[in-house]
Symmetry: C2
Subunit: 339 residues, 2 copies
Amino acid sequence: MSSLPRKQSVTAQDVAHRAGVSRAVVSRALSNNGSISPDARERVLRAAEELGYQVNFLAQGLNRRRSHLIGVMVSRISDPFRSSLLDALLGEIQRRGFQALVSEIRSEQDLARTLRRFAQFRVSGVIVTSGQPPETLVNECVSQQIPVVGINRQPDIPFVDYICSDNACGATLAAGQLVGNGCRRFGWLNTSHSTWAGRMRGEAFYQALSTLGVDITRDWQALIAPTEGYDGGFQAALSANEHPEGIFCANAQLACGFLDGMRQRGRHAPDDFQLIGFDNTPQTAQYSYQLTTLHQDVAEISRQALTRLLERAEDPQQPSRTTWVDVQLIHRRTSPLSQ
Amino acid sequence: MSSLPRKQSVTAQDVAHRAGVSRAVVSRALSNNGSISPDARERVLRAAEELGYQVNFLAQGLNRRRSHLIGVMVSRISDPFRSSLLDALLGEIQRRGFQALVSEIRSEQDLARTLRRFAQFRVSGVIVTSGQPPETLVNECVSQQIPVVGINRQPDIPFVDYICSDNACGATLAAGQLVGNGCRRFGWLNTSHSTWAGRMRGEAFYQALSTLGVDITRDWQALIAPTEGYDGGFQAALSANEHPEGIFCANAQLACGFLDGMRQRGRHAPDDFQLIGFDNTPQTAQYSYQLTTLHQDVAEISRQALTRLLERAEDPQQPSRTTWVDVQLIHRRTSPLSQ
DNA sequence: TTGAAAGCGGTACCAC
DNA sequence: GTGGTACCGCTTTCAA
């Protein structure tokens, strides 16, 4: 318990002094910005090294009116898909030299508070993976030149960019697979308060089926899970009376719950029914599930998100863009490849 | 695509002007710090409201030498326990009015870089949930008066506080349960490169068994999973030749994998063996697993972590403290209550 | 190329 | 109680 030296942090002034130049030169040397002689540059860099100098990001940000922070809005991180998306986002954010500010959103109020807080930190960008921030709120960001990108959100706010998995394509693949496997009656499982992405998947599934010649009015039904997640899927399986042969499911958690609920009733995939989920979470690959599912490419989504953010930082007035990221059908046991 | 008003953000100066006072008064009114007349205070607050004034945290932090940021170091967020811990931490951090800076650590290098970066943002504290930062590195924080707390880390650095689940107690509960259920031969499943917490659980399990009269040399064995997580547990189940009746497992992912691996070999809990895991992740509660497990109270852990952080901010020189958080045995199917 | 100086937006001390 | 003012640490003109 000896008392430690209470070293005040070293500033650009200290470096300047040691290198025998002015603070301005130090700044230039470190930011590669403004002209400087190779010699001075060298001396500064060495001095900085020797002193263990680290830029004060608060001061830097105050000046540049922009921190090296990127705000990420998430919710229910403990959901496997969400956490893997967050994982990928963090990786990408760090790779590009930014630092993530992450906030969990539990209500509309949180949403507003968080967005303001992000602005107060002069973030370089905001990534929304959850909730639908009201347009007026987002405009506070836009007017402060803070780029905003939504992931799997409904693309409806001007000057905001969107990155979405290609839900329609995924649903079409699922429909094709189930039809090809000989299913006749189809089900669509989703929660009642679905996200936009979920609804989109459902609609595209419906469309794809009818295109494939399925008699929608007779052979299609919607199963509504009472709650989100695994439990919702489980309940849905228990409560439904008569089940279709081919079921497409809005996400992986619902699908796993549904599978287990059916098991409890003594019904198993793929013999008694076929099931395709979305998200390809790690759990879907496990021995006890082996769920056929549509893989969302979170790495690519993250890459695109950061790219958009930087582009819009360059040119804030450019028109809103939406990028669709390919999904991939992963064949597992609940819906085998057609023979 | 109409061009938006490019409103510069409103500053304390603007508020001062509108309220007919000086910048200093504005600062006092908003920070409840320093004396001010009720009247002036009122006027400032109203002006701020009307203008939609928001403090610039960068400027504020620069001045106070401390931002309202708390750095959180995590790794492999997509692991269910880790993400639920992060979830709880974020909640608590926000509840206390801070904003989380989160960084994913993938290597020792990341660890150093991240810690420095946190310091550059003048964080109010650092929470380490992953990795073992070298003492010299942590001292850079300590000497800058940045409180550091480790969660489930080995308590070994001066001036750093630690919050840990009571692993020993958990292991003892597990041992008691297995012995009480009539198991004779015991196994301990862990990965070879275990965390400190994992090792501690194993040692306490061993201790508890011998205290309960188990012949350790004959009836105890260690099962080593080749890799982390579900797959590691799965492999371990496949490769072991003869299995003990009662198995305690370092974490939930290993346990689920093990359970599935055993299933593939046609062996099931609790008939063929009993299994107790750690972490009580959502997955362990699911129909297909129903795993008996030790619950870590992530909410309490998070609360304690923040409390320590704030305490040490008050008094940086106080001696290092370690807090043990109770764990709870959740009875499920893989190790039923003794008759 | 370089240094002086004017901020960035607040905070806090000090006279009044 | 209040306003003036000297910073916090860095960036960026602007003249030299």
